[in-house]
Amino acid sequence: MSRPEHLAPPEIFYNEDEAKKYTTSTRIATIQAEMSARALELLALPENESMYILDIGCGSGLSGEIIEEEGHYWVGLDISDSMLDLAVEKDLEADLFLQDIGHGLGFRPGTFDGAISVSVLQWLCNADKKINRPLYRLQRFFSTLYSALRRGARAVFQFYPENDDQVQMILSTAMKCGFTGGLVIDFPNSKKAKKQYLCLFAGSAPGSARSQKLPAAQGIDGEFSAPNSLRTTTRNPKKKGQNRTPVKSKDWILQKKELNRSRGDKPVPHDSRYTGRKRKTKF
């Protein structure tokens, strides 16, 4: 598999052409939507409440659309202005920032109820410029993220680690910055379906004495411990009955959109969520 992060820095790689190609591919949209839904599920947010969520490396908003569909408010950060341009065009209900997460985040302590990041973290491990020292950037990122989260909140990263060293570097840096947690590996034995989620906990909520437990993975039976008091949970895809469809498969989303369209009472994303939203400009 070729790794885009080896080709060019992200703000160069995701130029106008690549951003368009990425965003208009239904194959990519489907995969990103599924992984975003899974990441949100791993956040374990309280039900039926609107939360304030950070989307790290939000790109053109494929992951953010899923956050929005769940009724949450979100803030998206990305280093590629071409990707962000496409997100802006979608008229999402989000606040978008052009930002290099390796520079650290500037949110006040306890701002967010949770954070997700889909297919981004491997970019941060790359020394794509002379001044970019991965370890330093990871440290800056995780320490400012820890602070930006409410105590007890989670940050879930789906990512494509290049090798075990990279996983270790990421995990140990996150732990140094105060996080606990570990890797959740869905469908570890399937080359195609295998997906890795780094689940981080920013302490525990005040008043809750018990420490957070790593969520169970999908499609697996084994469980083993990883070093650093980190646990890795995995699931076997072949086992009958456990093979659940992701919370929001493509069908689910399409069906929901179709339903919404036919009902006509709810704004439907993609065709621009608030095509009819009133806008007024003031100077």
Binding site: Y52, L96, L98, G106, F107, R108, R277
Partner: protein, 125 residues
């Protein structure tokens, strides 16, 4: 960028740590846009304790929004009129163009097409 998120934002230039100056970022030359949003009182009530009220009032005034009470309100869940105002100010008022300036280090974060540019220079990271 909605004003609710501006209220959460401080300067992230390395070493700019004086919390009396790195927050709030001062909005200048703003072009505002009102974008209709669904009402959600429960969310506002939940977010209320996270707001820095004085910063919100001063930022709003600076943008000629003068209908927020000076004193931090109490029992906002029972105050429909205030929830209405908060909804409009926090969730519907967007800064479309302009810039944010840090009173600590002087960094200027430009805002274009509703997106603030938070990229830092090499000596700031």
């Amino acid at each position: 960028m909605r004003l609710i998120t501006h209220n959460m934002l401080k300067c992230h230039v390395r070493g700019c740590d004086d919390s009396s100056k790195n927050f709030p970022l001062e909005i200048q030359d703003a072009q505002l846009e009102q974008i209709e949003a669904e009402k959600n009182d429960a969310f506002l009530v939940r977010m209320f304790p996270r707001l820095e009220w004085n910063a919100l009032v001063s930022t709003a005034k600076n943008l000629s929004i003068n209908n927020l009470p000076e004193k931090i309100p109490e029992n906002i869940e029972e105050d429909q009129a205030l929830l209405e105002i908060l909804h409009t100010v926090l969730l519907e008022t967007n800064v479309k163009e302009g810039r944010m300036v840090c009173r600590g280090c002087g960094h200027i974060y430009a805002i274009k097409n509703s997106v603030p540019n938070m990229l830092l220079a090499e000596h700031e990271i």
